[in-house]
Symmetry: C2
Subunit: 329 residues, 2 copies
Amino acid sequence: MDDVADRAGVSQMTVSRVMNGKGYISKDVRSRVETAAREIGYVQNRLARSLRSEQTPLIAVVLPTLGNSVFTDVLSGITDALTQKGFRPVFGVTEYSEDKEDALVRDLLSWRPSGIVLAGLEHSQATRRSISASSVRVAEIMDIDGTPISVAFGMSQRAAGQETAKYMLAKGHRRFVYAGSQGGRDLRAAKRLDGFRQVLREAGATLVSEHISSEPSSMVEGRKMTSDILSGPDRPDAIYYSNDDLASGGIMHCLANGISIPDEIALAGFNGLPFLDALPIQLTTIVTPRYEIGRRAGQFLADVDAASSDAIKPHHIDLGFQLQAGETC
Amino acid sequence: MDDVADRAGVSQMTVSRVMNGKGYISKDVRSRVETAAREIGYVQNRLARSLRSEQTPLIAVVLPTLGNSVFTDVLSGITDALTQKGFRPVFGVTEYSEDKEDALVRDLLSWRPSGIVLAGLEHSQATRRSISASSVRVAEIMDIDGTPISVAFGMSQRAAGQETAKYMLAKGHRRFVYAGSQGGRDLRAAKRLDGFRQVLREAGATLVSEHISSEPSSMVEGRKMTSDILSGPDRPDAIYYSNDDLASGGIMHCLANGISIPDEIALAGFNGLPFLDALPIQLTTIVTPRYEIGRRAGQFLADVDAASSDAIKPHHIDLGFQLQAGETC
DNA sequence: CTTAATTATGTTTACGTAAACATATGGCCG
DNA sequence: CGGCCATATGTTTACGTAAACATAATTAAG
């Protein structure tokens, strides 16, 4: 800035004013400064700017993984909303580990972001302390079953599990198996299962068993699990998968082995990923507003006014979900 | 830091040394400082740290979109590599616009990142200027057909197009149509088409027409385009799609309308996305090392030693690709 | 036992910016 | 014409940290 100032024959402070469009600047000086800046290729140093002004246009984003398109959809929504308001995401992935979340949150907060996005409502005491000590705005996403730190954008995971169970029961299925992944560390999936279980219990139906793979979810994994389940001793008449990736693997297994869906076995997934449309059989699933969740969360955090009301009463914004009836139940 | 210092009965500088593990510190002082820091919940201010030390653990990542899983795969690879070495990605999307890339690069460079990831090898003069003025390390990804600024990690897009053409010709197809998206702004797709065209020309085969939708690529879009192509006047016997999303839309159209693949029409895609396995017909496509490209690029940028050799001769790292023969050609 | 290293700590300063606090000019009002 | 306000610019300082440059205490070497 000093160099630009010299070249334009003004003080450093005047350059700062031109750059930020604050205060009074004469037309003449403005153009001289702008020219000088362009000529020497001046680029602001945001580190200094943010240090001095005590605010950054950064939003920390903490997600469990990028390997699941659910979270890349969310990230896409966040990014779009933030970009529009001149904010930038800085992010990291926890791989569903609480310890990594703690460390990551601490690390990201050291950038003094103005906001932070967390997945889910369950966070360690350490994470909560870090956050409350820093006065960042917080948006929790995906889940609304519980008490948010500040505002949660998402849908009721439990209700999604319930609705799926009701639908499958209505279709006449009685003996169920649950197939999940990530070693059960996906707490949203656990809540869905919880809702699912509860409805089954009330209806007197049976949850024969729960298969939880330790792998990340994928079609291949879903196919393998389905094979195990169907060749096992206690064969169910329906499988509830923790997500579409696993469920589509289930469809593949059945197709490949001539197992008729839904007569011999019914399947249901979760997420409503677009690739389902390409499958030969339409999966019954729950369509979630992933992009919208991200966009709303981003919008909220980038909205400086929403910030000012710092003592926000914890609440949630329910973005709903949609059961998409397919041919697999 | 001053507060921690007071509490531990040492100077601010000693606290700094403990935090960064630099210089000599006695066991006693170290533990006192660590305790004090924990007690008052001290969190480093990276803005100040980076400002003073003139280096940041940030890597700027500029991608065309997050709406295409190709780039989320890449981003996942980048993130994994960076995280491991204590770096963080800060990113933005260009939506395939050169102007947005310029603005984004300028903006991201203002954070003084130690590295930047760009997609492709084609960049405006403005972008090149910004980058060379800032002395960041640069990794260009996806494409290696051309001269990189520094190091490019990717594969030959042109060769991919060529190989697809050769394969389809070998299967006896002669009249081709190309189907692309993004209004032709995807320069990698353009290079593939270029290679494809060239091989057809040399073989005396015909590229009947090139359909370029202005929409982002998706199965729905691919299905629509395929319908148009097949109902048009000059019906081809093969369609080369710019990617798997469009191609799988093509498969759907054919399945839904009883069009036999590959007898009535042959199809080929690009990327080798995992969901292809779930389709009733295996698509012939090119499998690209997307995650690996991201990982290698991230690794390179996070490697401080690779940095020191600042006058790197422009070169590329070819991560190759694999033609995956399916049932659609 | 001196001297020189090694270990351990402190003091001063600079990183690049913007907030806070001046100051100067001109125009408008009564 | 004096006073006040809007406009336009400058000067000083602080943001939180680490590099650079001391200095003190301890150990090793001769």
